[in-house]
């Protein structure tokens, strides 16, 4: 009687212990820049994705990104500090921020901070984690943007206007002489 009871008790304790550990939330956060090319004065989209891969819900999830200096980036839409009450196990949330770079050059996009708590530790002990870091990003200048994307129709027309006299005038002079002395001769032959 003693021995089976002990075994059952031990198994129950182990079970509870496992259950207690399995109920912990585990968040993975990803930060990515959606633009292929980033230009000064043009919109830059940054997306944050938070996945709960644990078996417990995450409470008071807070995402804070202070990596964008106000002198270099202006926020056009979205917030750099977001709070979610709960992310269930297996759940995910995503959040976007639209920025406008004020200067051109190379910038280091670092990680954002994610803090959350499990059910038992709400208001007591907060778990802190970090998103991935996109790394160095090049912001091209306005001149580069115009170089890549503007049609330059008027400029091409002016170029054509400048080059055509250099080609057409000598061509005409040559052809008039050629038609008079060379073509007539071959026709008469």
């Amino acid at each position: 009687m003693g021995k089976p009871a002990f075994v059952v008790t031990l198994l129950l304790c182990l079970g509870f212990l496992c259950l207690a550990q399995d109920n912990a939330p585990r968040l993975i956060a990803h930060k990515e820049v959606l633009n292929n090319l980033i230009f000064q004065g043009k919109q830059l989209n940054v997306k944050y994705s938070i996945y709960n891969v644990g078996s417990g819900s995450a409470f008071e999830v807070e995402l804070v990104d202070n990596s964008f200096a106000m002198s270099d980036f202006k926020i056009a839409a979205g917030l750099t500090k977001v709070k979610y009450e709960r992310i269930g196990p297996g759940g995910n949330v995503s959040h976007s921020v639209v920025l406008i770079p004020q200067n051109s050059g190379a910038f280091n996009f670092t990680y954002a901070q994610v803090s959350y708590a499990s059910q038992q530790q709400v208001g007591k002990n907060v778990q802190i984690g970090y998103t991935s870091a996109p790394g160095e990003v090049i912001v091209y200048s306005v001149a580069e943007y115009e170089r890549y994307f503007t049609a330059h129709a008027k400029d091409w027309l002016c170029f054509a206007g400048m080059t055509l006299p250099c080609i057409v005038l000598p061509g005409l002079v040559w052809y008039m002489s050629y038609a008079k002395y060379c073509l007539k001769k071959s026709k008469s032959a």
């Binding site: 001149a143 170029f159 040559w174 002489s177 001769k185």
Partner: protein, 187 residues
């Protein structure tokens, strides 16, 4: 003895005239036309680099000036080489047509009997004028087309990924160098 010497001297003069007319040396007018046109054509690409590649003229004027001068010299040399080749080809083609025109001109001029020598001189002068005109105009036409095409190909396809300054130097050097090289062909 003195008449044979006079004949020899006149033959030497005729050879000198032919050499001057069909040689590689540029006459005054042709030289001005060639170098003037070469300078214009060499500076036309600057518009593209200023407006489309967005190079700043205030910071780029030194490479622009140097490359424009170098390019203009090479283009003028290409004009001269092409003119030399074309002139010889044209001279062979227009002989009969010019002779016919000169004979007609001589017949139409009343009260003037041209000696054989005068007719020959007139024929030679007329032929040289027409050859010069055709050769100069064709040289300008052909070389300008080739140069401008090379500029567009090098600038927007081959060197398009380079920074504007390197793109400009590479494009102008390659285009004018290739143009000069092609002009040295004897065909």
């Amino acid at each position: 003895m003195s008449s044979s010497k006079k004949n020899q001297n006149s033959e030497v003069d005729d050879i000198d005239v032919l050499l001057n007319d069909f040689g590689r040396n540029l006459s005054g007018v042709s030289g001005v036309v060639f170098y003037g046109m070469a300078l214009i054509v060499a500076t036309v690409p600057l518009w593209l680099y200023w407006r489309i590649h967005l190079m700043d003229p205030l910071t780029s004027y030194i490479p622009w000036t140097i490359m424009s001068i170098v390019s203009a010299v090479l283009i003028a040399k290409a004009y001269t080489n092409t003119k030399f080749v074309i002139k010889h080809k044209v001279a062979q083609k227009i002989e009969k047509a010019v002779a016919k025109e000169v004979n007609k001109m001589c017949e139409e001029t009343q009260n003037k009997n041209y000696s054989k020598k005068e007719k020959e001189n007139l024929l030679h002068w007329k032929k040289n004028e027409i050859c010069e005109s055709q050769a100069v105009s064709f040289s300008l036409f052909y070389n300008n087309i080739v140069f401008l095409t090379l500029i567009l190909v090098f600038s927007f396809f081959i060197f398009k990924n380079l920074a504007p300054l390197y793109n400009y130097v590479g494009t102008v050097a390659a285009s004018s160098g290739l143009l000069f090289l092609l002009s040295t062909s004897s065909k």
